[in-house]
């Protein structure tokens, strides 16, 4: 579903990621591990097309990432991203935010109507139910929701987008442990076949349920293996500060 | 469907061309109180309309410059201009013709007036040189482009050695109209002013001047002033011979008919006469001298 071949993104002092290659098959759920600043966010931004790498190639669903705008948008519409900072629109209602996931397939009329009145309420209700939120929240302005509720709304937006490849950038960073576990379960459920999931974490304590773990260190890929095969040495190498300048 | 058409018709009403017959638009420089102008030119429009069989409309303008601009742009067809504005308008509008002037316009003059209290020691002048006594006084002209309220008074002041910057405050005032000049001098807001002699006389006669407060200082030598100027394309728009019919209608205004008599009275004239174009050469040269014609 996703393939990176020798991808390099230059940075100010050193490359943000260097010569990274990886592959993601349908149904695979992969965790991306590394310290903060290791290049996880950059890698995800390459994966969803926000950044075009200076070197190397990106393949989406078996085809090279297109440079032709329309074609590229069609490919991107199948990729959903759960951003670290959520990137929802505070001034819109929950329902309007959910519907923002549908922009790629909607006509201009629906896009405009969405700004003025509630569209596709039933589908939105279903999406909210999947993330265990009450339907009564639909009409609430997003700005009034709590942090955990907003995170769920962001996940529900991915549902509305009906993305096949799910990318998630540190979705659990600011949550207390029980909540983090529940949300991770939700995301993992979403990533079941035929979908695929690539999720970045900066701590290695929530790896159950993932099929593979990829380690990133200073922009380079250091391991790519199953979580059960992960040794303490691997982790130590990943998180040690030696070699940092 | 029909209602849709109705809505469209209403919506597009501002867009539709004027379907009515050609309108002759007349105007005048706003040298007097607007009510008076409305009354006068309402009568003129009615009279010309009846005589010529076309629709005539009076278009009021707010200042002298606007009248010249309107004429140059072709928005006004027949305008009662002052000497200076008439020359400006004709210089800017190729083909424009002078149709008529009043009997008084060939030998027109201005008056200088003063506030009695403010200038107690000022006696009426006997010669032009005495104008120099107006230095350092608060002085008001009429409109900036007025011939009798600004151009010629400024010309005579210059002959006596008084420049606009010599007045109190380093600048003369511009009241806007002849009536306003009288009122402002009478009130004491200005100590002295200059205006159209004819307006002065007629306001005296109507008892609208408080002679205990305002005094006449000096009458200027004569010069040509007001005239009717028409666009050169009227024959093309209204039919052959229209311009001369229009001219005749103006020249034939007589005191025997009640409405025409009223028009002539409001104009302060016994009749209109033909106006030789070359008499305005003097105005043009003064205008160039004072920078009002470039």
């Amino acid at each position: 579903m996703l393939e990176l071949r020798g991808v390099t993104v230059p940075g100010r002092q050193r490359p943000r990621i260097r010569a990274v290659s990886l592959q993601l098959q349908p149904g695979e759920r992969v965790a991306l591990l590394g310290r903060s600043g290791a290049g996880k966010s950059t890698l995800l931004a390459v994966a969803n097309g926000l950044i075009t790498p200076a070197e190397g190639r990106v393949y989406w669903f078996g085809a090279p990432a297109s440079q032709q705008p329309l074609q590229r948008r069609r490919q991107q519409a199948r990729i959903g991203t759960l951003w670290q900072d959520l990137r929802l629109v505070d001034e819109l209602s929950v329902q309007q935010n959910l519907n923002a996931g549908c922009l790629a397939r909607w006509s201009w009329r629906q896009v405009l109507l969405n700004l003025f009145s509630a569209q596709e309420s039933e589908a939105c209700c279903r999406a909210l139910a999947r993330v265990e939120l009450e339907a009564s929240l639909l009409v609430q302005p997003l700005g009034r929701l709590s942090g955990g509720q907003r995170q769920r709304v962001a996940i529900a937006r991915l549902l509305r987008q009906n993305a096949e490849l799910l990318l998630a950038d540190e979705p659990l960073a600011q949550l207390d442990p029980p909540l983090a576990r529940r949300l991770l379960q939700l995301v993992l459920d979403l990533g079941q076949p035929p979908r695929a999931l690539l999720l970045s974490l900066h701590r290695p304590d929530l790896l159950e349920g993932f099929d593979r773990v990829i380690g990133l260190r200073q922009g380079e890929l250091v391991f790519d293996q199953s979580p059960s095969a992960l040794s303490p040495e691997d982790l130590h190498h990943l998180y040690s500060s030696s070699g940092l300048s | 469907m029909r209602s849709l058409f109705l809505v469209l018709a209403v919506l597009l009403a501002p867009l539709s061309p004027v379907l009515a017959a050609q309108v002759l638009r007349i105007s005048a420089i706003p040298d007097q109180n607007p009510e008076r102008l409305n009354r006068l030119y309402g009568l003129v429009a009615a009279e010309l309309g009846d005589q010529l069989g076309v629709q005539v409309r009076y278009v009021p303008v707010i200042d002298y410059t606007a009248a010249v601009t309107g004429f140059r742009r072709g928005d006004l067809d027949l305008v009662w201009f002052g000497g200076l504005t008439g020359v400006q308008a004709r210089l800017q509008t190729p083909g424009a013709v002078v149709l008529a002037q009043r009997d008084v316009d060939a030998r027109f003059l201005s008056v200088f007036i003063a506030n009695r209290q403010a200038l107690k020691d000022l006696k009426p002048f006997t010669s032009i040189d005495e104008l120099s006594q107006l230095k350092d006084k608060r002085f008001s002209f009429g409109s900036e482009s007025s011939t009798s309220g600004r151009l010629m008074p400024q010309f005579f002041l210059a002959k006596a050695g008084v420049e606009p910057k010599d007045f109190s405050g380093g600048r003369p005032g511009f009241s806007g109209s002849h009536d306003a000049t009288i009122a402002l001098v009478q009130s004491g807001a200005y100590e002295a002013g200059a205006l159209n002699e004819q307006v002065w006389e007629s306001r005296l006669k109507e008892g609208k001047v408080d002679t205990s407060k305002v005094v006449l200082l000096w009458r200027t030598p004569t010069y040509p002033d007001y005239h009717w100027v028409a666009q050169g394309n009227l024959n093309k728009r209204f039919g052959a011979g229209f311009t001369s019919k229009l001219q005749q209608a103006l020249l034939n205004l007589s005191p025997d008919q009640p409405r025409q008599a009223q028009v002539l009275e409001l104009f302060g004239a016994k009749k209109f006469i033909e106006a030789p174009v070359d008499q305005y050469a003097s105005i043009e040269s003064v205008g160039r001298q004072l920078g009002k014609i470039r």
């Binding site: 969803n48 097309g49 926000l50 948008r73 991107q76 519409a77 199948r78 990729i79 959903g80 991203t81 951003w83 929802l88 629109v89 505070d90 001034e91 819109l92 209602s93 309007q96 923002a100 922009l103 790629a104 201009w108 896009v111 700004l115 003025f116 009145s117 009034r144 | 919506l11 009403a13 501002p14 867009l15 004027v18 109180n33 278009v59 707010i62 410059t65 606007a66 601009t69 309107g70 742009r73 072709g74 928005d75 400006q88 800017q92 506030n115 608060r138 900036e144 109190s168 405050g169 380093g170 003369p172 005032g173 806007g176 306003a180 402002l184 009130s187 807001a189 200005y190 009002k292 470039r294």
Partner: protein, 518 residues
Amino acid sequence: MTPAGQMLIPALVLLPLLWLLPGAVHGGGLALLLQFWVAALQPSLEPHLLLTALRGIGVTLAIALWSWLLSLLLGFGGGLLSSVAVSQRLWCCSWPALLARRLLALPRSLHELLWGLILLQLMGLQPGVAVLAIALPYGALVARVMADQLDALPVRPIEALSTAGAPAWAALFTAFLPPLWPQVLSYGGYRLECALRSATLLGVFGLGGIGADLRLSLQSLQFHEVWTSLWCLAAVMLLLEWSVRWLQRRWHQPLGCVGQRGLELLLLAVVLGLLLIPSAQLMELRWQELFSSWHWPESLPLWDVAGWMQPWLPLIGTTLLLTLLSALLALAITPWVLLLLCPWNGCRPLLQLLGLLARLLPPPLTALLLLFVLKPGLLPAVLALGLHNAGILGRLLLEGLDAQDQRASEALQLAGAGPRRSLLVAGFNTVARSYLSFGAYRADVILRESVVVGLVGAGGLGVLLLESLSSFAWIEVVPVLVVYAALTLIGEAAADAYRSRLLSGPLPLEGLNPAVGS
């Protein structure tokens, strides 16, 4: 210095003004000035006069409405074109936006009156001139404000939508419009009030509406008639200001969602739309004439060297001096009056009434009134511009004080501080930054406005411009316009620099937030 101190410092401008005063007063027309104010209590109520006044108001309102709508359309389009953020989304590069921004600076640099006088020359006597004259500079101004607002919005939500495959325009609409909307509403309403003032001013110069009646009846000293028009105008202005405020309060929800008020908005749009047609008919607006009758003066000597030979230094110097003095005066009046009179209960209503009168009278007419008692020159011009703008700034200050949190000043008063001290410490310090920032913006407006008091011989570029226009001296008009435009653009940059230093953040423009204290 505390912000409140900065608010009170401009009063130093009174020293040179007081020094100028004895030489400028003549008092000859004091009786006339008294008559004018006495006439306020007995406006002429003759039916035909009332009818004329109502018609004049109608035309002024029609001009304001049309020019306002047109300027919002132009401003919206221009704002999208000149926003770097939008440009990067749509065209993946920012130079089209930067270019548009430069181009839009040009229409903005000239006062609407100058646009009116230029368009009058090009298009002739027709009501459309006033509409376009206001719409062009206003449109460019709205475009700038919109672009600034757009560029200050967070781009991350839009990136999120774009990487999920949304078309650029759909992402723009969904992620940019909602946060922009409250500001559009509040700023748009404020522009309508400005448009009414501008339409009145253009009328004073003969471009249609009540302004012409005001000037003519004032010039012929028919004070009772002047007040008929003035009271009508006051009623309309107050009604407009109140209803705009009311709608802004109703629709301004910091965390609300767009769409909840959709029906009301739609209703308002329909009402405005229905008003457009009768108002076009009222002012006899005919589009085909507007676009068919353009007429360039033949042989326009644009680059003739003779026209460029002007004593620029004193001209520019006088213009700047006039601007500076008026701006400081406008800034100083309200805080000081408030400070001196605040123990008295009638202080606020009195200030509100005086402010309304100051906003109501266009500066050239105030200047004409002042000439009854002052000699022509800089002083009446400074007073006229200063008082008019003090009326506008004063209203913002009073609203800011009303909107602010009252607890701090209550606490101070409970602790025994007098009303003056609590106003100075709690009230002024909270609103000072935004007040001063609006003041800087106003100074920028006054620089453009300084041309309108050319009537009273204040000197400077305005006088030269009006004189050369009335002499049809194109050879002089163009250089003066160019210099004027350059000057206002520099002034705008200076005001912006001051404001961004003051606020260290995106610039809230006058009228952008209904509450000044934020």
